[in-house]
């Protein structure tokens, strides 16, 4: 029996409702500052000492850092579960995201767990090859509080191009 992993199947074989836990990541102060120096170069994100006196009462992760790590955890998950698959089942492009929200700060030492659920599939055929999968993605801290969520449409290759 073939084991059903996230990205070793064609578009047609991915069911709505399927749920995955990509894994967890513990954010360090150093990586938070490194990311923020490039993308949120403000003391709330780059200077632990000064941040203690600022509005978040301590250093926090830049919002997009939380999403960057979501992507990394998804890629790592595919690395484990879709080994040897190097076609459009595995490497589809993101098209659009919706309703991205950050609910509470991520601080140094916080461990964030990322989940993924397929919530819809589009009937459309894109460039003769691709279908679009909509997923709901959530991130929780070690206390079980939701820190971030969004929906995203990612292309997955269809098993065969429809006859035109």
């Amino acid at each position: 029996m073939t084991t059903l992993y996230l990205r070793n199947r064609w578009f047609e074989d991915l069911p709505v409702g399927e749920f995955h836990v990509f894994g967890s990541h513990t954010f360090s102060e150093l990586e938070m500052i490194t990311f923020a120096r490039q993308f949120s170069p403000r003391p709330e994100y780059t200077d632990a000492e000064q941040a203690r006196h600022l509005r978040f009462r301590g250093l926090i992760a830049a919002p997009w850092h939380i999403n960057a790590m979501w992507m990394r955890k998804m890629v790592d998950y595919m690395e484990i579960y879709a080994q040897g698959v190097n076609d459009g089942r595995r490497n589809g492009a993101g098209v659009a995201l919706q309703n991205l929200e950050w609910f509470e700060p991520v601080r140094p030492g916080h461990s964030i767990t990322y989940t993924y659920e397929i919530i819809a599939k589009s009937d459309g055929v894109i460039r003769d090859r691709w279908g679009s999968i909509r997923s709901r993605n959530e991130a929780f801290n070690q206390y079980g509080n939701k820190v971030m969520s969004f929906e995203i449409d990612i292309l997955a290759e269809r098993s065969h191009s429809p006859t035109v």
Partner: protein, 145 residues
Amino acid sequence: MKSKEHVLSRQDITGYAKAFDPQPYHLDEAAAQASIFGGLCASGWQVAALGTRLIGEALLTADIAFVDITRVDELRWKRPSFVDTALAARIEQYKLTSGSAIPCCDTAHLSVTLINHEDQVVAELQCQVAIDQRGMAGLAQERSS
């Protein structure tokens, strides 16, 4: 309102990809040529993060006390950002409402187009950002106290 440009170098793109999005089309030129994108290009998340930085800087330059992004209603990636793309943010609409999830802030609802140096649309986003109610003086005061 238009931001300044930021050029995405090959090193910027592969450096980000190694850390956060290690997929072949963001790391390897040959693999990228054969991919859906047709060339080595930046992670869509890198474009979003850089675009947000540019939005923040444009607002601050206009004396609008940008604190951070709080919500993205929708973001659509329209075209890849290849090596040496000069990315800029164009703020098309700006509407302020009172209150924000971040204390002492109001919410600016923005409609933004991210464009490259050929004026092509790279991404479109509808987002909300927190603006300090005390203005630029409030930002300066908090950071100096």
